[in-house]
Symmetry: C2
Subunit: 580 residues, 2 copies
Amino acid sequence: VSERARLMRVALGEAPADLLITGGTVVNVYTEELLRWDVAVAGERIAAVGPDLAHLAGPATERLDARGRVVVPGFIDGHTHVDFLVTIPELLQEAIPRGLTTLITEMAQPAAALGAAGARWFLDVLAAQPIHAFATAPVIAYLTTDDGTGAPVVSEAEMADLLAAPGILGLGEVYWHRFVPEPKRLLGLIERARALGKTVEGHSAGAHGAKLNAFVAAGVGSCHEPITVREAVDLLRLGMCVLVREGSVRRDLQAVVAIRDAGVSLRRVALASDGISPPDLLAHGYVDAIVQKAIDLGIPPVTAYQMMSLNPAEHFGLDGDLGGLAPGRFADALLLPDLRTVRPEVVIARGRVVAREGRCLVAPSPATLPAGLYAGPRVGTITAAAFRLPAAGPTARARVIRTEGQILTHEDEAWLPVRDGAVAADPAQDCLLAAVLNRRGAGLRALAVVRGFGLREGALASTISFDTADLVAIGASAEALAAAVRRVVELDGGLVLVDGQGHVRAELALPVGGFASAAPVREVARGLAGLGDAARALGCGLANPLLPLETLTFQAIPALRLTARGLLHVKSQQYLAPLL
Amino acid sequence: VSERARLMRVALGEAPADLLITGGTVVNVYTEELLRWDVAVAGERIAAVGPDLAHLAGPATERLDARGRVVVPGFIDGHTHVDFLVTIPELLQEAIPRGLTTLITEMAQPAAALGAAGARWFLDVLAAQPIHAFATAPVIAYLTTDDGTGAPVVSEAEMADLLAAPGILGLGEVYWHRFVPEPKRLLGLIERARALGKTVEGHSAGAHGAKLNAFVAAGVGSCHEPITVREAVDLLRLGMCVLVREGSVRRDLQAVVAIRDAGVSLRRVALASDGISPPDLLAHGYVDAIVQKAIDLGIPPVTAYQMMSLNPAEHFGLDGDLGGLAPGRFADALLLPDLRTVRPEVVIARGRVVAREGRCLVAPSPATLPAGLYAGPRVGTITAAAFRLPAAGPTARARVIRTEGQILTHEDEAWLPVRDGAVAADPAQDCLLAAVLNRRGAGLRALAVVRGFGLREGALASTISFDTADLVAIGASAEALAAAVRRVVELDGGLVLVDGQGHVRAELALPVGGFASAAPVREVARGLAGLGDAARALGCGLANPLLPLETLTFQAIPALRLTARGLLHVKSQQYLAPLL
């Protein structure tokens, strides 16, 4: 109340502004006009806007000369996954200078790895940052079974509580193909989200016609998956908010940009990253690059700015606070050299100058795990014996998970040698052993054969894994697997590549819950590059071997996945024997 | 949950639709397209939309043939005052056939007359209707002092409770000129509304520049007062939702319609009535007439439909449920003969056909006051002696409230005759006595002199009065005033015109709290016409003498007002002696 009262006094000229941005051309995302406006800030919010507000300055008012500059609202990434590899404060050191002033992230990793307590900790980290950082409730952790207890990793009651938290804007992405055939498990949470005035994010890739109608009828309000203009228009017609994805997982802007010529209103179209990897962030930029690309591809600049400010803000019901340069809104603004050059010279968030010329000027709040929340991966004592797939003959016929591209897998088969009564990897036909180890102390482990990594020797292990947050590894021998896993445990979690002798060739410690490094983005990117280089030196043909490794456990996408319970056939949801 | 599950089953073809609208051209307010679409309904909501949904029908499915017809979303009146003169169910009998499927109304009268309990009763009436009916929390009752207790008519705690009620969408209209100079009383409630995800409606007529910025910075989100394109654009630029008013109090559409050529986005522009009187409703129509006029004045039809569906729905955060024809939304739709003819042939609300060809097919839920909530006006025993304004001389100099038009007043003066030691009305110079009587039993009364009504004899009394809900009367003699007031009390509230002999010439009983008739709209309109005719027969020169009478107590608009505490100078908030 006192904050609002002061805003009013500043607007009325009864108290001086804290910050005055003068002489700039303001992009008004409400009217779609360019206006020669000043912006007066008091505390964290905008007190007044208008053609000449010089009289609102006092002796202590900070002034920003925006003459010759364009002032746009701070960028909102409406759907992202910045819950792993780097911590939020380290991410923000790089993301804020690129114009990010609001992020809305999934939080599958902290929730899957550390349960509801991890989700709460993550929310606390988000709330402590110098920009607006929100999350959506972790549907995937709720749908994932803890292999030890048989209960969801995050319970329905915990999800209901999380939904009510101020830092939670809605229910996280709901995968249509898991939800539509069996809606019961989620409908109660969807209703709760809606009753709280919050959103339900959707993942409708591949849903059309009846299935898409059913998905939307359930109360799902957005999708970030369209990869064609046709799909995007279909979603818009059903009243959905479409978040066009341009990030590390996929880049869809080029294919979807022609929506500008489809004759449809773009008011419900937003731009989002759906996740940005440390190397991509450093090499290509982030929200700045996304908006720049939209403009370069022919989206009118004001429309492009709306797509990363007002439009996502409206979708999340935040537009009274965020998404435009108007009185009462948070003072989140970027000064750009001109309308078509998305290179923030100054970034203002919550009323403060937080970055200049690419340099972050604030210290984001650290993300330290509270004592007792995480004690490293609890996988028991690991020797090569842990990775025995017993078989009788001189050879055995195995089911094979064949990875394709980054995430997809196919069903395959192979005849493999049997040594000492167990199936051996056979790098000659690109067949490695894959293992998933429950890391919550349940003692469960599963083994299978995987193809597509190309590693000639050694092993690669990770405590980042989709859905389950278990420890996942692939390797050319049981001994190498054991060495890689032991090193991961020593590190309290991380990514490790060992060679055929079990020597560590590259590693990245992830001591924050097993899913994130505490190091700066640049260092993490270097670590990842080192892992990729080392893997390639051992024969791996993949540009990024980590994503197919981390998604071996990902139960949402066909065909075969490996969890600590066994080899899962996604479509039938049946567990299959690893050997035929 | 089970409702959503059934929607999904219907969309998937696993259960038959309840209602299928086939063959029509659907106005898609999300994309701004016209689509040859069917609409399948299950229960109260839309299950699916698409080019051919015939397969979703079962033997019991009701079918609506929309071939050759245009299907638009039901109309939302985003700002109205339908809390007096007629009850909600009687209003809906007339309003539903004209396309109204959602209304958002102020509730100043029930709240002022009956306090928070009256507001709660009114919310119950709204919630029981066959269409969506919401209210905003009664700011005016909160800002009005009960002359008996000195406390607000509705307390801050009661307002805070009301704000949390599901039927309350936000804080009712805040008058800037009462709020900005002294924001303290309202800022807490504004914060509460916003924390609940609800809106704050504004009344910014006359606010510009610094004052308008301060008003918006406080958290106010809409205004229905712009009367020029310039004003409307100024509000839009500040991120406000503009509700262009076209109703009984004013008609601003003609003046504001050129906003279509102002080069600004219209996504935050809505159309609203700001109140519709029974005679206007019958003579000119309602939401149908508003949209029709917008189209006739050159607003593109799809834009006009958006302005009375999606745009107000988004403003109130209702667009997941209302405002467009999409899965999961309530099935609120109108069948129109063509895109430019806003004459609903069929009205569907909450999945049911509620009107056809102008006839209402549902019986709106009755609005009966619970016993004990209202016991008629408690003004004590009334004789002519109640209306004595004591004065000494043969003549006295009086301050005069001079009414102008419908609502405005000016300060004036007059020399009036004194008889038996009291000032007498002097119809020859159009000076009548005006009286306000506290009707909550506080015994307070105030008298003053009023000019502008033109009544030669008799008196006019009303229990509808703005802000206070007190009993207000004007008359050419103390005896006539007493006769009119006594009759109003006999009726348990109402509008009464008596002649010079104290005989009733016309009357309309308002037994519902003193502010509404229980009769149909048509009968109330006849009663109002009768009162006007009778008043004119006694010399009154006003087209509608009731509004200036009812607004004599209205403390929000200059210059002089009369309350039961005395003669109020609005700008200075000082009470003045009625005689100089």
